[in-house]
Symmetry: D3
Subunit: 279 residues, 6 copies
């Protein structure tokens, strides 16, 4: 446990910079801290609470983040598009990382980055007590640098417009990582799911150059197969792996177990029609 | 049950286009699926979860929508003004229809419409599993057209400015229906509650023309009496009726039952002063 | 508002003893305080939060009770069968009345009654702060009589065995009212719903005698028609009327409104088949 | 969808009696209906909401049951030990099956069985509206037989004392199935986890005889391997398979995915020490 | 209790205008109405539900506001930055006051002010039933003036840019109070926590002039010591005191009590090392 | 952090046996983990989640316990009277300590003790994954001893009957501590709040003898003043101090701060009547 200290952001970025494989599990359908324990016990270093694609409340998101922090994991939250007002609430509630989806312009990225740090680096609203520092009231002079240091800001580029601004976005103070959402990007390019399209590779290369140039990290999400992932690493993408969303993982295991039961039953009771359509 | 298929939006619009009376019940104070069962058993075809005038959480809204969908009803959500970031969350969570209030400009309407469909028609963020398709992971090539087809986008015009842009808004790809909020419109016109004011009729006629022109549907909400409603139908308004919000329906029944009990008691115990002020 | 005083129970019983019609609304599907406001504005004097027939949490039940108390209504909770451990939690949380269902023996009734008052009259566990007294810490010497006075204990007899013990139960210190559940009693007697069966009338008469004998009040629930109710009053039943459960009231209003819309539409569009089966 | 009818219990038992493989998924950490959709889409016929080993609220349990029912699955709830008062609340809220753990005596089993049916077969408290019949108010004469028919009562024997009473328990009206909890039984026998211990087999045989004798079904939970399961089928156990609890399924998938990612990274970055202890 | 009337806003402002000390307690970590009772019983006149620095849901915020209103307190909500869509939901749900943080421009302030009043003064969306008027359906002609009158709008200036626009903002119809957030302002000025910096005093004087000029009230938050506060009163700041946030108050009391216990134990058991580091 | 190991119970008891002052904070009105952080940062070693005197849900109780465990505190839950079925749910959910109120007989105590340990020491139902061991599936042979070791069972004696059975209760395997509830005991003895009554001292002495005899620990709750507490320590009571319930602590701080503000205002504005009655 990082008991109520402030090194979360640094630890996470340092590990990635050193090339250490970093596993992140996405949470979309979980609402209890059980899923956080499962993520940790299975070797994950971070969670991604997905508020963009779920209807989870901010209170539940904060509880999950707090549990992850207490277990020395780094809790990220993907915020809904355009809902920048949620950033401060989540950071005050226990998130250490903010993932901002569908950023296309420098202004959008700056708004996110500035919402995550205190003046003079940004405009995060002053608070005095946060759970990850044990709710101890602390003066701004001590609290602000500690919290600024603990945050990781990830800007998610999912459109050609976003990629085109990668360099200027990577240059922004307060942006720690760029991320490419491969799913949305291939959809925007008209080649949904074709991660090996040359335009995808080019987009990654563009973002990688921007990150190298400004000393930031790049990650790419949504790429399932290992060969593609290794090619990305070669391009300069950092070894951050989103192993899966909780809903998808549960589906996989439930489906596999059900199929095994059906197969076994068919072997022993071949006359039965158990494979009826359940749709 | 439309078990995990994708015809919800089409079914709803087809019924209206064919002139079939379509009943919708509004939910504002309910938080359990009981109210959805009640809506269905009393003959409603759709629910309208009202997040503009209630403090219901998105998680509860999604649960109500999911229940409606499983019962073959079409679940709509009226989103809060300006909170377009909530659209994707609600659609991923189970809403089939989005009602966007107080739209005044084409840009606002386009933002809503594009948030409801995937590229190239819009910018809905890619997902892979949605409850109304049974949480089955599906590739974008299959999932996106299915979901695009299942959504109904209703643009609510409540001001003269909105009416003035009715034609351009109706022309937008992805806008399926225009709606006129009679309450707010009469208030904006300075004639609160006077639904038979000529300017109201003119506004409806303008919107009806726009809809006819672009093959969209028009609905008008907040008009209580039958005569006015029939006049609207004659103008080209489709037969979608919001029978009432749950809170208002409960109030009516509670009041009627209480009044009957008081009246009965006064008949039998005339000396009693039961009609005391309860304020 | 009875701002944080302790007269709730007394007020409620005094009104009934004086023959004042007292209206109670049942809450089963509501989860917000809106339903409490509706109950009050429509003339109700009390609410009955039904934990026997709903899955509502104790926290929500307490919130509804607290809202009712702040609005000068008397909040009752019908506890689940056999769950006597919940009584103390609900009283500490804001309930003023406890309705204990399916009581058959004097021992069961005594357990309930003693759970509702402090020593020496009972075994309610000592607390120091309750919401209906404003969460002010108070010494036991002041707090206990105040709270003992504010509670109303209603013992619900729903079986012949319970009726047979009515006199002994009514004799118990701490039992303020007997209640007969007409629905369950007719079912137990093998004549479900036949409220005018002589055995029902006899049961009521037995309970009424017990109450008169021991200076307690009797109420009968589940009798819908006015004639039957007046006959009960003549037998000595007090004028407490449960106007309806929220779910039933909502159903009535939703159904009536939907039927009106369908009828109107059929008048104007006689060709349409809107009365399709929705089951 | 069994839209608001009453055949759930019958369907479930008939399928098992006909030897049809029936898959059930356990829910312990899920709180949203997503997990119900996943269960259905992966081929499950029933869910088991586990209130004995989770802290899930009754309101959430009812929501999950309601969702399962709407999707034509049979929702079971395992109630906490000794909390028989919860049975009525859950049945009124949408559960179709009750699993009662650690039953040792005929009296305990009778209490459960009678809590699940209306008079004269039991003591279930009269209600008028239930979600699985669409919240339509119905008279007792219609509602009670429908609901009695829709319920499945499973008595869980987990101790030698329970097994010893198997025949008398199976003889009870209202008991539809016996179940043996293999985990707890082996623990009680002092051979935790040794499912092939002769005493386990003997216990199963005893229960199987009791079930055959009285025309009830027998199921055995907690047996993982296929060979053991087939041996049980041969003994007369019905083909009901609990594929897994959601928490265990999620753990399996998360662990497998994480291990794959680590293995792949070690192949490509052999110098990295990614297998650090995460405990 | 102001039972369902509409004088809340007026009462609050009148008291302040008359120089009456007005105590407000902030709620950030509370989720039950207990904290509202505590605020009232300890002499507070208002609560400030802080949605800017907490992850509390809107439903809980509304419940707290409703409880405060029923207890004759004035419930304020500090909304998250930029989330103006939440204003209408909160006002419909029971808030009487809106505190809008980090306002810098007249346009932002106007957007807030207009979201809080109905046409023609603003754009609040028409509703018919609100909890603070007992959920009674009311026509717009009666309801709107009542609600407009009951609302208090507080614009929070926390940056030099905001202060620079103080006069124009104070001039806006619908802005009732200006507020200076001393914490954020000193941070923005580069002197975090130095409330006696001349620039702070100057900013307060500027805002005070603006308020006097336009007949509005000025309050300053985040100033702990009494001397500074008196100096502010002398400058024209109204006597509204935020006594503390619930989390900070709880921390103070928990810390003081723990320290007393440790000190007492050390006196009697001097050999024990109880002061171990708990960080 | 005790990351997912099993020493919680041992650590807690060892500290007390060694005479180490142990601070526990009660939680009754808190619903978020903020209150757990506050407890830890102010030097507490344990929390007592009070389900006897609050309406908190089991899910929230488990979340608070889990947070405490992750922060290396020992989470206790005081269960409601008679609700022994809740014990297993809470232990599976994250509680390490069970406080059972109003125990009067050896049978009651045995039921509690056996519910807290696995066979052969008790009847806790077999599980495979618990949050405090990271949700890792573990075989019974490993898991059961670990969990048995981690639990602390406290039996609360609050009546003369309970005290009379102290020796036999302390003798029970699985009972780790006796506790005397001074508030309820003085009430039962007819001397509410008189902690220095000889009968109280005698009761404590009786329980202390029982504990010494059987190697168990004794704690006494509800005694506020230091002198009385030291006298108890001299009698053999262990140095476990419940510093306060969160609601009481918040009340103290809110009251003190409000009084200071009123006093200051009266000094500077002597003409104002700010001390009006707020009741």
């Amino acid at each position: 446990m990082r008991t109520h200290d402030d090194s979360a952001g640094d630890d996470f970025l340092s590990r990635l910079r050193a090339g250490g494989l970093t596993l992140m599990m996405g949470i979309r359908c979980g609402r209890t801290t059980d899923v956080v324990h499962i993520a940790r016990s299975t070797g994950h270093h971070a969670i991604l609470v997905d508020l963009e694609h779920s209807t989870m409340s901010t209170d539940v998101a904060a509880t999950l983040c707090g549990a992850a922090d207490s277990l020395s994991m780094t809790p990220f939250v993907r915020i809904p598009e355009r809902e920048y007002g949620m950033i401060g609430r989540l950071l005050d509630g226990g998130a250490h990382g903010i993932v901002a989806p569908r950023i296309e312009t420098v202004d959008q990225a700056r708004l996110v980055a500035r919402a995550c740090r205190f003046a003079p680096r940004g405009q995060r609203s002053q608070t005095a007590m946060v759970p990850h520092l044990g709710m101890r009231p602390m003066p701004a002079g001590t609290l602000n640098p500690a919290l600024d240091n603990a945050v990781v800001v990830q800007i998610l580029l999912e459109t050609p417009a976003g990629i085109a601004n990668a360099d200027a976005i990577a240059a922004l103070d307060g942006v720690d990582m760029l991320a490419i959402g491969a799913n949305d990007l291939t959809a925007e390019l008209g080649v949904p799911g074709q991660y090996d399209d040359p335009r995808v590779r080019e987009a990654v290369a563009t973002a990688a150059r921007a990150c190298r140039h400004h000393g930031k990290l790049l990650t790419v999400g949504g790429v399932g197969d290992q060969a593609s992932f290794e090619a990305l690493i070669a391009l300069g993408v950092c070894p951050l792996v989103l192993t899966g969303m909780d809903a998808a993982l549960l589906y996989q295991a439930a489906s596999a177990t059900a199929q095994r039961a059906i197969a076994a039953h068919q072997r022993t009771s071949p006359g039965h029609a158990d494979s009826e359509d359940t749709s």
